[in-house]
Symmetry: C2
Subunit: 275 residues, 2 copies
Amino acid sequence: MELWFTEKQTPAFGITAKIKQTYVNEKTDFQDLAMVETEEFGNMLLLDGMVMTTEKDEFVYHEMVAHPVLNTHPSPKHVLVVGGGDGGVIREIIKHPEVEKAVLVDIDGKVIEYSKKYLPSIAGKLEDPRVEVHVNDGFMHIHEHKNEYDVIMVDSTEPVGPAAPLFERGFYQGIYEALKDDGLFVAQTDNPWFKADLIQKVNRDVKEIFPIVRVYGANIPTYPSGLWTFTIGSKKHDPLEVNEADIPEMDTKYYTPRLHKAAFVLPKFVEDLTK
Amino acid sequence: MELWFTEKQTPAFGITAKIKQTYVNEKTDFQDLAMVETEEFGNMLLLDGMVMTTEKDEFVYHEMVAHPVLNTHPSPKHVLVVGGGDGGVIREIIKHPEVEKAVLVDIDGKVIEYSKKYLPSIAGKLEDPRVEVHVNDGFMHIHEHKNEYDVIMVDSTEPVGPAAPLFERGFYQGIYEALKDDGLFVAQTDNPWFKADLIQKVNRDVKEIFPIVRVYGANIPTYPSGLWTFTIGSKKHDPLEVNEADIPEMDTKYYTPRLHKAAFVLPKFVEDLTK
């Protein structure tokens, strides 16, 4: 018998992957969590039936959340990750020697627990001495930590279930207040083919709060449409003003100093969503 | 009853789309041809079970085949399309007023016939007075037309079935000879996630023949991995030497003058395939 998992990315379109085994399939306090072994993409974490990360393509998302903002801030010492319990963004953050403390706040401890067990190449750096892990509500955390972070990264699920408040205007206001005077943040903002309205809404909301707003993209095969967007809100530093020559070559598989600015050059129909 | 079409893009991974109706499902002299109406992507052309084009996302592929090379050549008068019977690349070519003649050579007349009937927004410009359509073998055509074209575009299916010879070194040699002294060509070269070896092979082959070889990418949701690559071989003009300010704003949905160079900035793991 062949087992195939299918994610309906829209009501009429999806991806399907052959499953070798299912490690976990349970309801946590916050969401449905599954961990499976796929033939094509290695181990795969699913939340509420949606692919969160896979061993084969995880590097794109994690590198592209972490490096553009960290290479924009001149001295990112204190960094917060909201969500991201799989640890992939943390792994990329601690590649930056100037980061003194990286705090991870995920609401669902089960994501952290199972990622450590089944995705060790992604979650391994959660044990790093520079990393602090809190199982907590990210919304609460930012409201309790004003003027504290240089960089905040929002590595959330889709705006359904526990992540819904992370796409509200009030959350971006809280982020603004949790950032220091020259801080910036980045959030994953879904794809422009099926969720154009979300990108537009976030863009409008963040522009009301932050003086500099930029959107960039990256190719992630297991995410809807294969084109994922990220939105940056910044108080002072502009990712497009970074000098490419000042960006160090890093141990990456997707991000490069050359790609730092090119990723912000969007297809016309996506560019139009940010105007 | 719900009908879903599934394309296995690899033996263990695929996409699946809800089908509203099937217009055509037949064996032509060269390949299996299907034309269906999908709920998410509109009408869709399939050859040998692989998605060739859909009404919703076709603009990416067709714009990104045509405009980078046409905006690199200073005066592209005579243009050849090998394959591309759906007419989408032709539609983009004739947006360039300097093109005097665009020749389409597709081996399978049925692709042209059914595209005109079921994909009129794509195929409509095949009737343009500047366009010549030949139902013929592209390999033969280039060998019979030496030193004739300014630009050649290879809009083929995958390297199985009738398109297999279009990925051979001898074909690129033929293209070289069919091009004028300052001509250039572009070919679709599949995706870097599942077909890395193909990109590498084409890159090596084309480098043996053309002094300038460049690879660029574009996001196409219905193609494997969502990231498609294109390889340019050029005798004289370098797409990276084009002055962005000299590129006209065109009636496009994906390509822009800003994207002209950014599309050539590849993720590191793809960049590495071209070294």
